[in-house]
């Protein structure tokens, strides 16, 4: 077990090129919990990736003939992962099997599928590039409401720069894949540097950063005084029309004040990223590692409890892939099974997926190293790794394989499980909506059903997945 000093020092050593300052923080993340004083908040990390995740690729290779027959027919069954090997590419999670659940059989046909899915996989509805298609807050934002934090939520992305869902800038801030509410897209940070600059701007250590921060504060202070003054002279609904706006500015200022109070702690966690994670030409693999470091620092410092991370998207040009580091790999071509630079598409998938698992391992290992309450921060954490569009490149949404890493305080019966739920259209089938409803229900949101319904499914498809609830 580590304390935070150990964590920071180990992180520094473990990171190699990445470094974090080794100063003992004054506040723990648990103390930052607003929603649940006395108990640490739950943390949620949604890692989604493009191009589909083949359901067969997450099946333990050691299933017996009977289990394999069920698997092949998409019939429901379950095995204990302790008695099975993980697929090769999931090797980095071998040591975390006690926390690992592979959930198969969830469908998401109420989502936009195919090449791109926008907010669909997080919102469980058909979203596209039009803001009007954003029906409600995505599940990560709903969970963030249950565990408030100064920043509420952060989103990081390896943006698509091509395909039908291109963002203009790989390194900037652009519309992300989460949504704050109806027609309200969230904004994501495209590169680790801009994420650090924005998330940790309250403790910026450059002169430009400090000036920018001061100016932002100044404008908010001015706007708050201005609008509050205006609202004071109004009555009834007219007062609300301005007052709500003024209060919202005040809310942001209040969050800023909280962040300021945390300055000493936050300052300790500013990821000091090595040049290779700041370089404009950084590889995708390095960008992903850099994002994970920002994500970890944001969680551990208590700035946020929820993070969404677009690990990749179909329109992202991949670089840094093991063994073909300098090659720019078009993931659409990979989706179509092409051979690139002599490497088979399946092998490319294998290498990128393996790297993704090292990212998950990095998060789990690090959080297990941070003491919180009677355990570690990981005890209060859930990590989801899943495809943004379903089962394959040209997907239909019949399957969304989920790799779930869950700590011990998650109120769900998870860990050591490989579960294949009833297939789409069969009795007992479960959708993304059921899965998200489960997460929301056990964490304090009693919603009857989160997500749009699948018009092609017959019968009641609402509610949580009882089999998972303790």
């Amino acid at each position: 077990m580590q304390n935070r000093r150990d964590f920071i020092q180990n992180a520094f050593l473990a990171m190699g090129g990445l470094s974090l300052p080794g100063i003992i923080p004054n506040l723990s993340a648990a103390q930052m919990s607003v929603a649940n004083p006395g108990n640490p908040p739950m943390r949620f990390i949604f890692m989604h990736r493009g191009n589909g995740l083949f359901p067969k690729s997450v099946v333990p290779p050691t299933l017996g003939p009977q289990e394999q027959a069920l698997e092949d027919k998409n019939l429901p069954f379950e095995v204990d992962l302790d008695r099975h090997q993980l697929p090769d590419w999931m090797g980095p999670l071998e040591k975390h099997k006690a926390n690992l659940t592979i959930l198969q059989g969830l469908s998401g046909k109420m989502c936009t599928t195919g090449h791109h899915s926008w907010c669909s996989s997080l919102g469980a509805y058909m979203a596209n590039e039009r803001l009007s298609s954003i029906k409600w807050a995505t599940v990560d934002f709903e969970l963030a409401k249950l565990f408030p934090s100064p920043l509420e939520h952060i989103e990081l992305a390896c943006f698509p720069t091509g395909g039908g869902n291109a963002r203009g800038s790989l390194d900037g801030i652009a519309k992300g894949f989460s949504a704050r509410g109806p027609q309200q897209p969230n904004y994501a940070f495209g590169c680790p540097k801009i994420a650090v600059d924005e998330i940790f701007k309250s403790v910026a250590n450059t002169k430009d950063g400090q000036i920018k921060y001061q100016l932002e504060r100044k404008v908010l202070e001015f706007a708050a005084a201005n609008q509050s003054g205006l609202a004071q002279h109004l009555q009834g609904i007219e007062r609300n029309k301005v007052g709500n706006y003024a209060n919202s500015i005040e809310d942001i200022r209040e969050k800023n004040r909280k962040v300021d109070l945390m300055a000493d702690v936050v300052r300790q966690y500013i990821p000091k990223l090595d040049d290779k994670y700041l370089n404009k030409d950084m590889s995708t693999f390095d960008r992903q590692i850099g994002h994970v470091e920002v994500l970890l620092a944001s969680l551990i410092s208590g700035l946020t409890n929820v993070a969404a991370f677009t690990v990749d998207e179909l329109g992202h040009e991949y670089t840094g892939i093991t063994g073909m580091e300098k090659e720019k790999v078009n993931m659409h071509d990979v989706g179509h099974g092409k051979v690139i630079a002599g490497v088979d598409a399946l092998e490319i998938r294998h290498r990128t997926n393996t790297h993704h698992m090292t990212l998950v391992d990095r998060i789990v290992t690090r959080l297990k190293g941070v003491r919180e309450g009677n355990g570690t921060m990981f005890d209060n954490t859930m990590i989801f790794y899943f495809p943004d569009n379903g089962e394959t490149h040209h997907s239909h949404g019949t399957e969304y394989p989920f790799i779930v890493m869950a700590g011990s305080n998650t109120k769900l019966n998870l860990g050591r499980r490989y579960m294949r739920l009833p297939y789409w259209g069969t009795v007992g089938h479960k959708t993304l909506g059921n899965w998200y409803t489960t997460l929301l229900n056990v964490n304090g949101n009693p919603i009857k059903h989160y997500g749009a319904l699948d018009p092609a499914l017959k019968g009641d498809q609402t509610g949580l997945i009882k089999e998972l609830v303790i």
């Binding site: 596209n128 803001l131 298609s133 404008v219 001015f222 201005n226 029309k241 706006y245």
Partner: protein, 877 residues
Amino acid sequence: MRKRSPINRVVRILLKLGFETSPVGGQGDYLDFRNCEFSPYDGLITITCQSVLTIIALASVVLPAAAGPGTTMVLPKEAGNLLETYCYDCHDDTTQKGDIRLDNLSELSLTARLDLMNRMQEKVYFEEMPPKKKKTQPTDEERKRLLAWISEDLHANNASKLEDKLRYPGYGNAIDHGKLFSGAIKDAPYTPARRWLVSPQIFEQRVLDVFKLEGKDRTQPMYGVTNPFVQPDTSGVRDYDTNLLDGGSLLVMMTNAEWISTKQIRPARVKAGEIQATDFPDPKDKWSPKETPAVFESIILKKSVPTDKEMTDAIETQFDRVLRRKPTDVELKKYLDLTRSTIAIGGNTEGLQKMLEAVLLESEFLYRLEFGAGSADLSGRKMLSPREGAYSISYALGDRGPDAALINAAQSGKLVSKEDYKREVERLLQDKTYYSGQIDPSVSGMHLTSHVTSHPKIVRFFREFFGYPNATKVFKDTERGGGIYRNPDRGTLASPGFMVDEADRVVDWLLQKDQNLFENLLTTDEFFVYHDKTDEEGAKIIKEWREVYEALKNTDWRNDAQGVLDKNIDFIKARSSMRPLDATRPGELKNFMLYFQESFGQGRTPFTTVPWAHGYTFHHAPFYGLPSTPDIGRYGSWKSTQFDPKVGNGKFWDYPVKQPFKIANRKGILSHPAWLIAHSKNTQNDPVTRGRWVREKLLAGRVPDIPITVDAVIPENHEKTLRSRLEVKTQEPECMKCHQFMNPLGLPFEIFDDFGRYRIEEFLEYPEKVVGKTADQRLNVYQTLPVNAHGALDSTGDPKLDGDVTDALDMIAKLAKSVRARQSIIRYAFRFYMGRNEMLSDSKTLIDADKAYVGSGGSFKAVIVSLLTSDSFIYRK
């Protein structure tokens, strides 16, 4: 014998003795229940009052200990009597219908009592209680007095919800229709002084105004600007003055303000050498205004701290661009202080930008201000200031601010009377260019551009009223849609998008005629389908195609397309509609000839866009009950010579080049597939929503909100039609309380399915009911049951129209003749142009608008002129 609560029995006895009950502090012959002491031992109740001390013996009554805080409620004698007469029969301790008990109000906790009182207030106000079937009904005066008592208690506790509710769209019909149009109301109309949140469309225009863009530049998409508002998307008027800014709006506006201000100063920063002209942080966002306002530029270029005069000029310029006015002295001082300090912290450029952002964050940027000015008249009303009036007129007719002539009128004292308003409104209605634009740019996408018209906002009223644009939000199972229904996807609103645009075309076409508009909207049998070219363009294409077909039909094009092409290349190229056909594309000639043979050759006219055209997306004609056009795969691409007769059935649509054209079994917008889909569920019809629409939109009626305890799911039964299942579910008296207002009006639409297809048989879409496959083997064919579309019309106010209807077409024909329906549309138009629900005092405005419509032979423009020159529009209080 009924059992009543002891306290209540005491109250009743006292009331009968002529006492009134009151909280402490009451005057006169009141009983102060605060000091009541109830003795449980001897049946005596001792009541200490301010003015009297009374001991009343109540034999054999066992009374409870003192009640809670609710005992301080006022229950005047008269109110008690009214409750006794009209309510207790069903809502006392014995009956408690609907689990509601009103005889123990004083025993409830304050929270419980206020909750119940709010429900009572609503039921009494909307005359939903006592139930209509009860013979004894309170008089208007009694209802008024009961309401006054309930409201008084709620207001004393600052807990009344009704007034707030009445401002919202769902309560628009709360005002009694008969009273509104009776002519008996003589109150002077006005609109409360207010801020009115701008619509998303007005917001977009305001952003363009910040950059002073004109002409084509106004179509420039503002890449980094996000609409900060969400308007409701249900049928009915959406842009109400009750919409508020919230935290989400602020977060979006902070991002918007940063983007806008960054763009504002960009040209000056390039000039100052701070950034390169080619330097764009986001390669997808390369737009820049041509110049930065001079007063901003001089500050950015200046090497020293700007003077107060320079900063003042900059502040005034930003106020003009964002808020369209000068700052007040107080505002100027505040902004000057801010600018000084931000420049001191961040230097000229960044300091200036923060001032620009601060103005953009003013809530006024997002509101329309309508307070009135000058002295009040005898009714306490003030006329809109000329400037306010100019903006109100312009935002009523479009989304842009006033044009130069209107601003000039306002500035030169020519916007101070009704005549002035009339002159300007009529002028702008005649203006074909100032507001011209697409009806709804969000419909535009791949292969579809929203229809362009001179006054898109007028069409928007009918879009909101009918609600058909919501078709794009109902996702359908493609297989059930015959395999041709395409849900909205990346870059396209697909099938429903096309149908919404085609409904827009119908509305706009009838608006251009502007005669008997409401009746025509409800009953027209003429529609636009696939009309992607003008009548003239279409006729030219068909003429040329026919010439080519006639000239070449007897050649050996089938086996020697290249030879035929070579021999006739000049003849073909002289006909531009043959696409850029050259001698290298024999496959396309063959495609054309096959296409012609299957149309001209069989006496039909082909659709004027060929199915092998790139991105061909016309598949939805069957939802109108029309034959399809050939499938894409039948001819292949323009290079293809692989004709496949198995793709499609060969019985293609005889395309009407001149549109609109008549379609059988349709009558107006309510039979348009876009409307029917918009008011359907994912997998089935929605007679309840359709019925509710008719009740609320055409009969000015109300349907009570669905109780939260209601399980609103229609049960499955594989042997019955949807109608039968709905009727079984809603036949219980509790359900019929609401469904009586909807089912008879919604079930006539069962002659259409949830894709808008006309039918006389209903599919039983269950696996065990499959009886075969369609010819192409792609889709299931199911057992059917006959459609029963009978319904009933009521509350039209005309006995000749009320009564049974055979189906939707019959019902629509009757509604189109209904005065109530006409006036109901007028009410919605009022809400659209005033941004609020009507009040009784708006009676004259509504009657005048109705008269204008009738007097003009059904002109909606006459309605607009009437509304925009009404006191309701012009006066504020």
